[in-house]
Assembly symmetry: C2
Homo-oligomer: 415 residues x 2
């Protein structure tokens, strides 16, 4: 029987999960591929550290040693960082290897170059593990929704932020206390900036957008906001209104361009994200034929992420198409999506001191001394915040339903 | 450019949706397939009825006329009934056509024969539209979860039942009133038996089970219960306990066998189905590597179902594998799933008159004169109901969490 030889770059949570899963599911892999999958090499940083890796596997901190192996079919990359893993994968592709990556920062930055290089070298690129952990969102967009024109994608894609928001709400904890708990549970890094400031979510949104629309928003035009502005008091206010803060990435077509946002927003009970709690991730896809479908599942963790890598491995091994072709298809299919105009939306505005008159802003309801629900276009809310430095503002998703609700129940809402 | 010639059997909601979508998405189909997709014929019952179908399409009530067309590549079947559509599809396969069906009753009964016949004739069978409307659950199980061993599948797969339960709870309506509303909205047939008695859900479960486990439960061993036993009072009681009735199909491996159930059960707030309301469908897949993922979306309707058919059409046209092969793979991959033992579970028991002592039943809490929460194995609950003809019983999913909750909050629960 022929053998698929795999190298794993990095042996952190994801790398180790992939290693273990290839062994625990050897029988299934052989049944599906008709070939044995073997880990030939593991790239590590520190050669002194003891790891549970079989003796016959090459363990090295030198990528060249791996690339010079007599047979190497597929490289799984699960390293932290951007430029170094990118250069490793370029070399692997030129060597003729298929590649699979779990590294969203690297892939968001270099997907075009990698996909092009892969196409030239007739190999495939798998990146299911970069977004949504074990949720098969990339393949659903790519394989299962080929004719549906995607109109809008929304996601809770940062488990750390969602965990912190859940803890703050459920246990009335401060941001700092919830963050500490996340760190103790291994859900947040010692330096949590990437997660709580929205950068991790931003990279994932760029990857999602490329698959859903064949293009990305202009990186410089996407406002990136994390969850650090959310206080216990704001969460309490939202709760009284029947709303919950969720950190949501969103991308949709406006004319021929894709617009994106990364920010905490408020969702009502009718939104499928209202109930997505803890480290769970969820992604909504609005398409023209099917309507809205939601995928929910574990967004991180050793085995969910390993699952995404392994399912990619099977797809890559079975596929003879390079991924670049698919991307073009997706582009062609979504190019004719109808123009959608931005209109005014509902916002929770907090910290507004003094009067502020603007005919473009509808004042829906005052729900606290400095807290209001307004209806306005985003640019007008931004202007409001520019003129009032203490102002925080959050989009209310499905806001129309909220105001209908409020008409009946506004008496029960007070701060 | 070459052309894919399609016949649509039946021009009800689904058939018409497919016809319209092939026209509205002609450009996308051509971009993805490199071929034009053309509806060559439509099979109808009543030739007198006026329909919005182009002149060049053959409209006939005679299947033989369609099968004798000089070119016919693919047949989409969307008829009601079992044996007649089965015989049509057998003929189409023998003629060399790929087939796609949206008919769950027919496919649940005849999938083995159709898949075998298709394999012999080197054509493909698509049936995404038989389960979950527009939710791509069949392809997710088949294409995206090839290495994960599925342990358990659960679903809300009957939109009519879910709509009725939602209406009864939200608007405190009787079953009869909610059913009438469903009929007025086109969510239920004039004869609702198939939906409200659980048969429609049963067929879908059999199809899901075959894909997830490569085999079905013994049809005679599956208890099929619909929602007709659910009263407004029961829904109110559940609500006070923080629980909701959902009509859920479920299948899992027990030893080498697959066991299934179709019944209304109670779910708590932590279950992803708690929030699935109205005609939405949702499916949970528990697999060994990835854990639990949930797919939610529109379970019925003209365009969601057409979406499933059209995405199948693309898959079938692109694929050179007959589906029979996949099915065997799935079987091989799931054959080694570890044995799982049935254990005692939590139940809401209603209508219990007089004392009933059984050492195998733990009485957790009395929540009304005749209403109790108990912990017991299913066989003991069944025995209880056999001896007390007035007894109704419902499984509480995630019951352990409920009793923990109850310890703190039991005082607030009363009838």
């Amino acid at each position: 029987m022929s053998v698929v030889k795999v190298a794993i770059l990095g042996f952190g949570t994801v790398g180790e999960g992939v290693y273990k899963t290839i062994h625990s599911h050897a029988e299934e892999l052989t049944a599906v591929l008709g070939k044995k999958v073997e880990v030939a090499a593991v790239l590590i940083k520190n050669k002194q550290k003891r790891r549970n890796i079989a003796d016959e596997v090459l363990i090295t901190s030198d990528i060249e040693e791996i690339l010079q192996l007599p047979q190497l079919d597929l490289v799984v990359e699960a390293i932290v960082g951007k430029e170094q893993p990118f250069s490793f994968l370029q070399k692997a592709i030129k060597r003729g290897c298929h590649i699979i990556t779990a590294n969203k920062e690297m892939f968001a930055s270099h997907s075009s170059e990698l996909l092009k290089l892969a196409e030239e070298n007739h190999v495939s690129v798998g990146f299911e593990a970069t977004v949504g952990g074990g949720i098969p969102i990339i393949q659903t967009l790519r394989q299962l929704l080929k004719i549906n024109r995607v109109q809008h994608v929304q996601g809770i894609v940062n488990g750390t932020s969602n965990f912190i928001l859940t803890e703050m709400r459920e246990k009335q904890q401060s941001f700092a206390a919830a963050l500490k708990l996340a760190q103790e549970n291994g859900f947040a890094e010692a330096d949590p900036t990437n997660d709580v400031e929205g950068f991790d979510a931003f990279y994932k949104l760029m990857i999602l957008s490329r698959i859903a629309f064949g293009q990305e928003p202009n990186w410089n035009e996407v406002d990136i906001a994390g969850i650090t502005s959310i206080t216990s008091e704001l969460i309490e206010t939202a709760e009284k209104l029947g709303l919950r803060f969720k950190h949501i990435v969103s991308a949709g077509k406006v004319g021929s361009q894709v617009k994106g946002s990364v920010s905490p927003v408020l969702v009502s009970k009718n939104h499928p994200f209202y109930h997505v709690e803890g480290v769970e991730n969820a992604i909504n896809v609005h398409s023209d034929i099917v309507g809205r479908i939601t995928l929910q599942g574990p967004g991180a963790g050793m085995f969910p992420t390993a699952s995404a890598v392994i399912e990619d491995l099977v797809y890559v091994c079975q596929s003879h198409l390079s991924r670049g072709n698919h991307s073009q298809t997706s582009q062609a299919a979504s190019a004719s999506v109808q123009d959608k105009k931005e209109s005014s939306e509902f916002w929770l505005v907090h910290g507004l001191q003094g009067n502020y008159l603007n005919p473009l802003i509808s004042w829906i309801e005052q729900i606290g001394e400095e807290t209001f629900i307004i209806r306005a276009a985003k640019e007008d809310v931004v202007q409001l915040a520019t003129q009032n430095k203490t102002v925080l503002f959050y989009l209310i998703v499905d806001g129309y339903q909220l105001t209908n609700l409020n008409k009946q129940e506004s008496l029960t809402v007070s701060l």
